[in-house]
Amino acid sequence: MASRTRPTTQSPPLPAGLTREQLLEIYRYLRLTRTLEERLTALYRQSKVIGGLFRSLGQEGESVGSAYALERGKNRDILSPLIRNLGSMLVMGARPVEILRQYMAKADGPTRGRELNVHFNDLELGYLGQISHLGDMIPVMAGITLTFKLRGEPRVGLVYIGDGGTSTGTFHEGLNFAAVQRCPLVVIAEYNRWAYSTPPEKQFAVKDLVDKAKGYGVAAATVDGNDVLAVYQATRLAAERARGGAGVQFLEVKTYRRKGHAEHDDQHYVPPDELDWWAKQNDPLDRYVKQLVQHDWVDERELSDVDEHVRVEIDEATDACVDEPLPQGETALPGVYANPRAAERLWFRNL
């Protein structure tokens, strides 16, 4: 299509070793993330999303860029996303319909209504859902990547942690453990200015998250989290180093959480023009589009095609599941144990 009109020889060199198709694919994931969240917001307002809704508005770039840098496919790299890494999960192969079902607690959702939002896994595809307790996924990912190392598999793990999450004991124990074991683990520390309502100054006494890496003896770098390609490149480098045996790689991404902690949060604690500035001057999608277009890597019509496809995809996914039933009550019982001793009784309903 568009590429036919301009021979590739005339195009400026493509960035970061990516092909045009890949650049467009990255764009697709960014758009997919944003559109899917917008759809979730609409469903939330209709009370179809059951629990809270957590947005990653403004952070789609770092999620997508970092996940895109991993080796994907069956039994390759594994990442562990947080509530604001919907984009990372989509990149690894989670399908929008799964996310929709999960948020709406549908019987056919990935956890059959047991868990909420992005708390689900597909270890073969390479994502391991978090639990709510912040920090806990760092030790778990240390164990996963320790296994890669013990078995000599050329795989890496990637785990996200928020600026707030770095205050937890498990962050410390897990990162230190992984550092000592030289696990092939990339830690992405998301500086997004807020932990619920708490600013960094009340969360830690260093300026940047990358300062924390110094206490663990791991390689560290900082990247502009709203520059998708920069995040991609930095993560790619970190992942390849980890894969090559260089041990834990710590990457701080600087970004900004533009919505409240969850949809109910009115953000009254946010300085008035801060949101505006980030929306207008530093939106990761806007910046990426500008890059793509200015460098003539793709043309605008291709982008609007993607937008349109995404819209259709999300519409279809929504239509496919919005009226699906919730799980049957009794399905709440099995599966606590792999080897239960005997069929569980319904004690008090069995009198």
Partner: protein, 326 residues
């Protein structure tokens, strides 16, 4: 008399203690300007200043440990867990350090750890927990769990004044659902360690606490209307130390007991109560002690699943009917 919610009653209690005693201060995540995830401390920072309403890092063990240190120095800290589920991260600190400090070393450690707990709100497995059983096994701690607005206020005040560490469990399903008229000006302090007779009855006793007090009262109404069965409802209010006397009183009166809690069954508080009744009132029992509890699973998210797993009014009715007919 103004009508106040459970949450507002708790807020009042906290506020009054902050006004009364400048050793009282609050620490926790987002408790300051934001006013806490559920707005329990809304306006506190403005009134009492950032020195007495301290926003902390996301560090539950440090929050509880720092509260203990301050308590040793004569302060009266009130530590908020954003959700009580996260108190599990301070499990070591609370059970090993805080609870033993007086016994080991004569250290005064008057502190309160409080936070929203409980289900029926579609919070999923990590925003719905009832942690009482994990701490119930800890000599040195006290555990209170108000079911009414009056007790939400009275127990927070008593907890702050108590010289022992208190785990104060507040049920988020009750926050805005329960309203009560509370006299202005009257000082409401609910004594720790005393159960409350929530409903008089003669045919059987329902012993419970927290949100299931309300489910039990509903069940009792229905039993009265539909079966002519008079169920007594005892709201424990304090779980540790437990009010054995009140429990035995009702057992000896009705001779049949139904234990109800929202928490999962195995290892839940009902087991201990059953053992105590057995030890102290065995000969008064005309029927086996029955339990209505959650099923032994992590609490799932979907409304259908959550409703199935948690004890409901109809479950209580059914068990009570069985007992009444025994």
């Amino acid at each position: 008399m103004p009508e106040v919610t459970y949450l507002e009653a708790l807020r009042q209690g906290l506020w009054e203690e902050m006004e009364r005693d400048d050793r009282v201060f609050i620490l926790g995540e987002d408790v300051g300007l934001y006013g806490g995830a559920f707005k329990v401390t809304e306006g506190f920072s403005q009134r009492f200043g950032a020195q007495r309403v301290i926003d902390t890092p996301i560090s539950e063990a440090a929050i509880v440990g720092a509260a203990a240190g301050a308590a040793h120095m004569g302060m009266r800290p009130v530590a908020e867990m954003q959700f009580i589920d996260f108190v599990s991260c301070a499990y070591d600190m609370l059970t090993n350090y805080v609870a033993t400090a007086r016994y080991r070393a004569g250290l005064a450690t008057p502190l309160v750890v409080r936070g929203p707990c409980g289900g029926y709100v579609r919070g999923g497995p990590f925003h719905s927990q009832n942690p009482e059983a994990a701490f119930f096994h800890t000599p040195g701690l006290k555990i209170v769990y108000p079911a009414t607005a009056r007790d939400a206020k009275g127990l927070i005040k008593a907890s702050i004044r108590d010289d022992d560490p208190v785990l104060y469990l507040e049920h988020k399903w009750l926050y805005r659902r329960i309203k009560e008229q509370l006299p202005e000006g009257e000082e409401i302090v609910t004594p720790i360690g005393e159960a409350r007779l929530a409903r008089d009855g003669t045919d059987l006793s329902i012993v419970t606490y927290g949100a299931t007090v309300w489910k039990s009262l509903e069940a009792a109404e229905q039993l009265e209307k539909e079966d002519g069965v008079a169920a007594e409802v005892l709201d424990l209010r304090t779980l540790l130390p437990m009010d054995d006397a009140a429990i035995m009183r009702t057992v000896k009166k009705t001779n049949k007991v139904l234990l109800v809690h929202e928490d999962t069954r195995t290892g839940g508080v009902a087991g201990e109560i059953a053992a105590r009744i057995n030890e102290q009132a065995f000969e008064w029992l005309d029927a086996p002690i029955k339990r209505v509890t959650a099923h032994d699973v992590p609490l799932p998210y979907a409304p259908t699943l959550e409703d199935f797993v948690l004890p409901q009014t109809e479950d209580i009715v059914k068990a009570a009917r069985w007992l009444a007919a025994y």
